[in-house]
C-alpha cells in the first residue's frame, strides 16, 4: 500500500518532468491553479487511483487529473488518498457501506488498459455511496499521447452525471502573456488546457499582441498583432502555425471575433480618419460589410449564438461606453442594452444566448458582471478593482477573466452563479485576455 503510493508519487513527478521538458516555450508564464472560493458544502468524492497500463500510460495519474478538475469547479472536495482504506478499481469491489462511514457521497474507480495499435482504454465507474447505485462508464479510447485529455473527458462526464451540466474540463484556453518592464516588453500568445497544462506558444512579438478569439471548431485563432508597428488582424491555425493576415487596412484593425459558422469575422476598423466602427469580413472572399456608422467608438463585437445575425458591441455614442445590440441586414438603429452604471464594455454572450458577460464599473472598480438579457438584471461576479476580458466556458457554467493579484495580472475563473472561483497564476510575467475555447470534437 505504502509502496504503491510511493510509486504513484514518483510517477507523477516523472509526468511533470516530461511535461516541462516537452514544452516548446521558455519556462515563464506556466500557470498554477488555486481554488479561491467554493460552495459552502462541496460534494465529498473519492477518486481512487486507477489501475495502470505500464508503460503505455506514460506515468500519468489519471485519477489525480480527474480530482483536480472536479475540485477546480469549487463544487467537489476530493478525499485525500492517504485516508483511503480500500483501493478498488471496479464498481463491484466498492463496499458502499464502508465508504459511507468515510463520509464520501461518491466513489470513482477505473482502469487504464492498453489496446491493440498503441491505443489506451480508460474505464471509469461511478458509485453513489448513499443509494448504492453504480453507473458503468464512461469509457474512452484514446492515444497514449493524449491520455491527459481523455482524463479531462472523464471528468466532464462525471461532472454531468452528478451536477447535471456537461463539464468543460476537456477544453482549451488562449491567453496573452507579457514579460519585461515597460517600455521594453515581449508579448506572447499561448494556448493551454483549461487547467493551464500543455501550454503551446502560438505567437511572439516585441510589439503588442491582443484580442485573441477562437474559431467555433477550436482549430483557428484570430488575434491582433502590432508586429508591423501598426495593427493587423491575423488568423492562425493552432497546430500548424499557418498564419494569414486578413486585415491590415489603414488605421485600427482590432477586436476580431468569429461568426457562429466560422466563415466570417466581425472586427473593428477605423480608417485613416480614426472613426472606429464594426465591420463584417467574409474570410473566403475578403468581402467587407460595414455594420455600424457612428462618430463614436464602436468596438468589441460579440456574436449571439445561432444564425450570426445578432451582434452585441461596445459604443460610446451616448457619451460613455455602453453595450448595444444590432441585427445584420436590418436598417434599425442599434439598441442600447446596458443601463446600470457609467461604464459597460466588452460584451460576451453566453452559449445559450440568455446572458451577457460585461466589464462594468462599480464604485470605482472595474468588475465582471453578468446581465440577464430577458429582464436586464446585473449580478457582479468578481471582487477585484481592475478586472477585464470576461469569456464564457462553452458549457456556460464558468467564466474566465483577467484580474490582479499583488500588482500582477492573473487569470481567474468564476462560476456563472458567482459561488465558486479559482485563480490561474503565472510564475512570471503578466497573463491576461483569456478566452475559453469551444468543446472539442
Amino acid at each position: 500500500m505504502k509502496e504503491r503510493m510511493k510509486q504513484i508519487v514518483i510517477r507523477v513527478m516523472a509526468a511533470c518532468l516530461l511535461t516541462s521538458l516537452g514544452g516548446a516555450a521558455p519556462a515563464f508564464a506556466q500557470l498554477r491553479l488555486t481554488i479561491t472560493s467554493g460552495v459552502t458544502d462541496p460534494i465529498p468524492i473519492a477518486i481512487v487511483p486507477f489501475s495502470r497500463a505500464v508503460p503505455a500510460d506514460g506515468g500519468l495519474d489519471v485519477a489525480q487529473v480527474i480530482q483536480r478538475d472536479l475540485e477546480s469547479s469549487g463544487r467537489f472536495k476530493g478525499m485525500d488518498r492517504k485516508d483511503m482504506v480500500f483501493t478498488p478499481t471496479t464498481a463491484v469491489e466498492v463496499d458502499a457501506a464502508g465508504w459511507k462511514q468515510q463520509r464520501v457521497d461518491y466513489v470513482v474507480v477505473g482502469r487504464v488498459s492498453a489496446q491493440p495499435g498503441g491505443q489506451l482504454r480508460i474505464d471509469a465507474e461511478l458509485v453513489n455511496v448513499l443509494t448504492g447505485q453504480r453507473v458503468a462508464g464512461p469509457f474512452f479510447i484514446g492515444q497514449s499521447t493524449n491520455l491527459r485529455n481523455t482524463a479531462h473527458r472523464i471528468a466532464d462526464a462525471l461532472f454531468e452525471k452528478i451536477i447535471g451540466v456537461r463539464g468543460a474540463f476537456a477544453t482549451r484556453i488562449a491567453y496573452v502573456s507579457v514579460d519585461g518592464r515597460p517600455p521594453k516588453q515581449t508579448y506572447e500568445l499561448f494556448v493551454a488546457d483549461s487547467d493551464g497544462e500543455n501550454r503551446t506558444r502560438i505567437a511572439s512579438s516585441p510589439m503588442p499582441i491582443m484580442s485573441p478569439a477562437w474559431s467555433p471548431d477550436g482549430e483557428w485563432l484570430a488575434y491582433v498583432s502590432f508586429e508591423r508597428r501598426v495593427s493587423a488582424v491575423f488568423v492562425q491555425h493552432r497546430r500548424s502555425g499557418q498564419k494569414t493576415m486578413v486585415s491590415a487596412r489603414a488605421g485600427i484593425n482590432g477586436a476580431p471575433t468569429f461568426s457562429p459558422d466560422g466563415k466570417k469575422l466581425a472586427l473593428t476598423l477605423s480608417g485613416s480618419n480614426g472613426n472606429l466602427d464594426i465591420y463584417l469580413l467574409t474570410l473566403a472572399t475578403n468581402e467587407l460589410k460595414r455594420l455600424t456608422e457612428d462618430p463614436g467608438i464602436d468596438t468589441e463585437a460579440s456574436f449571439a449564438p445561432g444564425d450570426g445575425n445578432t451582434i452585441y458591441f461596445t459604443s460610446d455614442r451616448s457619451g460613455s461606453p455602453q453595450v448595444y445590440r444590432l441585427t445584420t441586414g436590418s436598417t434599425e438603429r442599434p439598441k442600447r442594452v446596458t443601463f446600470q452604471g457609467g461604464y459597460n464594455a466588452r460584451p460576451r454572450v453566453s452559449p445559450d444566448g440568455k446572458q451577457l458577460a460585461i466589464l462594468t464599473l462599480v464604485n470605482g472598480s472595474y468588475r465582471i458582471g453578468i446581465q440577464d438579457l430577458a429582464n436586464g438584471t446585473v449580478q457582479i461576479l468578481s471582487k477585484g478593482v481592475q478586472e477585464e476580458s470576461p469569456s464564457f466556458a462553452p458549457n456556460g457554467a464558468m467564466l474566465i477573466f483577467a484580474g490582479r493579484e499583488r500588482g500582477h495580472s492573473v487569470l481567474q475563473t468564476v462560476s456563472s452563479d458567482g459561488l465558486t472561483s479559482a485563480r490561474l497564476d503565472a510564475d512570471a510575467g503578466e497573463v491576461r485576455e483569456p478566452v475559453w475555447g469551444p468543446f472539442l470534437p
Binding site: P182, T200, E227, H237, M245, S270, T299, Q386
Partner: protein
C-alpha cells in the same frame, strides 16, 4: 526614448486575389480534418497572403530617439491627457504649436502620432481612446498648417505603457500621444 528597437524583417508580398481565395478556402476546408497525433508545437508562422493591406508603408520610416528637431519645445515629443479626455491641455498647446511650425516649414518631414491610454477599462475600447487622442493632435497640427500627407496615427491603447504601476502618476504618464519623427 526609444520607440522601436527591433524590425520585423517580414516583406509583405501582394498576391493576387485568386491566391488569397485559394489560401482561404484551403484554410477553412481543413477545419474538419481528423486530428493527428503530432506534438502540438506549431512551426514558425508563415504569412501566406496579405488580404486587405492598405497600410503597407507601415514598415517604412524606422525611427530613433535622436530623430527630429531639437530645441526647448521641439525636443518635447509627448502630449499628455486627462483621464477619459482627448482634448489637448493648456500646458501642451505650446509644444503642439512648435511642432506645427517646424513641420509646416519642412513639408517633406513626416511624423507618426502614437496614441496611448492608461490601463483602466477594456483593452479594445482603450485602443479607441488612444486613437481619439492621436486624431486630436493630428487635427491641431493640420489646423496650424501641417499637410495631411505629413501625418499618420496609430493607437496602442494601454498595450505599450511608458510607466509601470497602477497609480495616478503612472496613469498620467501613460495617457499620451507621442510625436514620432520618421526618416
Amino acid at each position: 526614448m526609444t520607440i522601436f528597437d527591433t524590425r520585423t524583417g517580414v516583406q509583405m508580398k501582394n498576391f493576387v486575389s485568386l491566391s488569397v481565395l485559394v489560401a482561404t478556402v484551403a484554410l477553412f476546408s481543413g477545419c474538419s480534418t481528423k486530428k493527428s497525433d503530432v506534438p502540438e508545437t506549431p512551426p514558425a508562422p508563415t504569412v501566406d497572403n496579405t488580404a486587405g493591406v492598405e497600410n503597407a508603408d507601415a514598415l517604412a520610416g524606422d525611427t530613433t530617439a535622436t530623430m527630429g528637431p531639437s530645441g526647448e519645445l521641439l525636443s518635447k515629443r509627448i502630449v499628455y491627457f486627462d483621464f477619459d479626455r482627448a482634448e489637448i491641455r493648456a500646458d501642451s498647446q505650446s509644444v503642439v504649436a512648435a511642432h506645427a511650425a517646424y513641420l509646416s516649414k519642412n513639408p517633406n518631414q513626416k511624423v507618426r502620432l502614437e496614441g496611448h491610454a492608461d490601463e483602466r477599462g477594456s483593452r479594445e475600447y482603450n485602443i479607441g481612446l488612444g486613437e481619439r487622442r492621436g486624431q486630436t493632435v493630428r487635427r491641431a497640427l493640420a489646423l496650424q498648417g501641417v499637410a495631411d500627407a505629413q501625418l499618420s496615427t496609430v493607437s496602442y491603447g494601454e498595450e505599450r505603457p511608458a510607466a509601470a504601476g497602477s497609480d495616478e502618476q503612472a496613469y498620467g504618464l501613460n495617457r499620451r500621444v507621442e510625436i514620432v519623427y520618421l526618416k
